[in-house]
Amino acid sequence: MNDSSGILQELSDRFPEAIVSVQRTVDQVPTVWIKKECLRDVLRYLKKETAKPYRILYDLSAIDERVRTHRTDQPVSDFTVFYYLLSLERNEFVRVKVPLKGEHPQVPTIAGIWANANWYEREVWDLFGILFDGHPNLRRILLPPTWEGHPLRKEHPARATEMGPFQLPEDKAVAEEATLRFHPEEWGIQQRSDDVDRMFLNMGPQHPGTHGVFRIVLALDGEEIVDAVLDIGYHHRAAEKMAERQSWHTFIPYTDRVDYLGGVMNNFPYVMAAERLAGIRVPDKAKLIRIMMSEFFRISNHLVFYGTFAQDVGMMSPVFFMFNDRERVFQIVEAICGGRMHPSWFRIGGVAQDLPRGWDKLVREFCDYFPARLDEWDTLVMQNRIFQARTKGVAAYSLDEALEWGITGPGLRACGLDWDFRKKQPYSGYDQLEFDVPTGSNGDCYDRGMIHVEEMRQSIRIIRQCLDNMPDGPYKAEHPLTTPPPKERTMHDIETLIAHFLHVSWGPVLPPDESFVNIEATKGANGYYLISDGNTMSYRTRIRTPSFAHLQMIPQVIRGSTVADLIAFLGSIDFVMSDVDR
């Protein structure tokens, strides 16, 4: 992140009365507190008027500040809504915060400025009980409509044992089921038009084409989709709430399961954000191991994508071939990490263990084996005429649309923009590695597939460089806040023994601050925003996942297409519901 004061200076010149204060954070993201009356003007200025605009609403969520103790540089507030904006031209984020007072405060909606604010604001209402004035459809999104309370508020219980036993008597079950009935008028959809009765088709939450517990209600005219209403939240596990009850260290396994195909790739932004809070410098070897394992998981994820994408357009065989090769990836992952899909292997300060003896042979064998297989799959899948007919020109969106909806990852690169955080904002030493960023031009299903395939080739390139250049040295930082803490000297002096004991049993205390780290994950940009209040647990953990943004765009793209195209589109997005619902 380059010159961070530029935009803050610009804002204070332009809106002197709007700025409440400027906050300094350890992650260097320019952070500005804005009065809520001026919020829309400031955001509109940032999106449209400033010289190098912040075109992407990258994230939007809130913080319950009521029991937070360390608040230097910050105005008094009960709740804070924060907005992450990303400028491509500046290659810079800006964090805009709005202080709010009261039990159920109100803040003006920005759904008219960014289309993708719609879902984010609904999420904040759902989880915090903050109202957005003028929001077109402010209703719960992750939790069922019958839920009582707003879980991310501090007074809401975090454990099942605090809530009394769960019971589902017959009448309650019936009532719950009734809330799932779809009422088109609530979504502004006409039942009839031009003397045609529309058919409403409920797809999901149990449906073979929706890749998980995801529900889409389609308004159909014949096979043509007139409109689509998405219903998410069936996979919601309150990962952000759990982060507030887990020590910094013990939350790592939960991150694995956010994008359950991404494995250690999920640990990556989390541990980096924690390291930034703790001020830990990670040794080179750990950095390279992390990159290598993340790229293995990128391949593993993309193989699942490739197979299921082909499956979605009716090809039966590729998924078996892809899973066989994914098994080879998992054998390597297992040899190195011990686990397979969710190894939870990164640690704050490094990785869990050194590479095992003979790892290089395994990795080299795979690097020699895999590219030829990719070529073979090209002839089977990507060059198949029917496959091309089913995917080329299907569910295409333009670059402008992609930016408006906050699309990242392969879905953005398919529109022709070579935006890859590994290149643009290199982390963990990606700038030392050679690889290309594949881009498409049409933004259709075929291009998204093609980019995934090409990324696997690039990942192999990266892994090969890691293999050839793996340095010697420690796999974990020598720092008092690494977890688990270094054990070598514990048996020699009582001070280290006590520190070790406390760090293992309670976990380390990270200094109060805020840090945001963002990476190019398997499905797009994945970011962790950690707020420490000087405790063994995080005060607030915000997980920005790519799939949430990607799903929100579906109705916009798919109107006017057929049911079969919708399935092809879903396959090409590359999402998992755990990554959407968290």
Binding site: L201, N202, E223, G314, N324, N384
Partner: protein, 318 residues
């Protein structure tokens, strides 16, 4: 007595062999798919997993015979029976060997085409009577698809009929003594095989089922034996199309050394395997692409084929 007993024996024999084959195909298909997809397929029950067929049948016979309360009961029950009956009836005119056939009809080929048209009703009615939106879409797709592909299927066979000068399937086989019709009638064969794929609702034409889109399409609500009948009906359909391909284009029972009936089965089995290979390879077309392909490609080509064959015959080429 013999003239009564012999036809009955043949009928019973043909039925038994066909139903056994259709059940056995479940195993064949799963093993072949396994082979082509780098996996095992069923290999646990009995030698080579052959008893899997038996296990599947026990399962399907003992499953609860459930009719959804919202379904149109009588039509719902009738639909799977139609496809079984229609396909089995078609086999009546298939000559398996010079001596092995059920009836020798002069309009044999027309009879087969007529019967295969009837099976559309089965699918459409099943989709309609289930009172399920997915089934309904599947049934509608099936009706449109099968009706259109029937047109090209019939047209593609007219070349063979013109060459053989008969609708009688035995005569058609006899007419291939010198040269199998797959050579002069290559376009006809290709069109027929593609239309056959569409008739049996197999990938790339399995739109009525399309599990990724329609869950299970027209038979979403079916279970137990009624589902089993659709299943067996599909496999019987594969055998029928393969057998017809052999009879019409690959000389039926003709072949050296081996007994005729064995030739017939070897050739038929080859085409059954082709069906399975196609399933392992191709994606599914979209509905509009399927229709466009049919009416814009298949129809002109089959008409052109007719014109060429007619011209050649008129010019005295045959």
């Amino acid at each position: 007595m013999e003239h009564i007993i012999k036809p009955i024996l043949i009928i019973v024999g043909v039925l038994l062999v066909l139903l056994t084959l259709a059940a056995g195909l479940i195993w064949v298909e799963r093993r072949l798919l396994g082979l082509w997809q780098d996996r095992y397929g069923p290999n646990r029950v009995g030698p080579l997993g052959l008893m899997q067929v038996l296990a599947d049948m026990i399962k399907i016979f003992t499953k609860e015979d459930w009719i959804p309360p919202f379904a149109d009961k009588w039509v719902f029950v009738l639909a799977p029976a139609i496809i079984m009956v229609a396909v089995l009836l078609s086999f009546a005119v298939i000559p398996f060997a010079p001596e092995i056939f059920v009836v020798n009809l002069n309009v044999g080929l027309l009879f087969v085409l007529a019967m295969s048209s009837l099976s559309v009703y089965s699918i459409a009615l099943a989709g309609w009577s289930s009172e399920n939106k997915y089934s309904l879409i599947g049934g509608l797709r099936a009706a449109a698809q099968m009706v259109s592909y029937e047109v090209f299927m019939g047209l593609s066979l007219m070349g063979v009929v013109m060459l053989a000068g008969s609708f009688n399937l035995r005569d058609i086989v006899e007419a291939q003594k010198d040269i199998w019709f797959c050579i002069p009638q290559l376009p006809g064969f290709l069109i027929f095989f593609i239309a056959g794929l569409a008739e049996t609702r197999r990938i790339p034409f399995d739109l009525p089922e399309a599990e990724n889109e329609l869950v299970a399409g027209f038979h979403t609500e079916y279970s137990g034996m009624k589902f089993g009948m659709f299943f067996v009906g599909e496999y019987l359909g594969i055998i029928l199309i393969s057998a017809l391909t052999v009879v019409l284009f690959f000389g039926g029972w003709l072949g050296p050394v081996l007994p005729p009936v064995l030739w017939f089965f070897v050739k038929t089995f080859f085409f059954i395997c082709m069906f399975i290979l196609v399933r392992a390879t191709f994606p599914r077309l979209r509905y509009d692409q399927l229709m466009a392909f049919g009416w814009k490609v298949m129809l002109p080509v089959s008409l052109l084929n007719l014109v060429v064959v007619g011209t050649v015959i008129l010019a005295g080429g045959f």
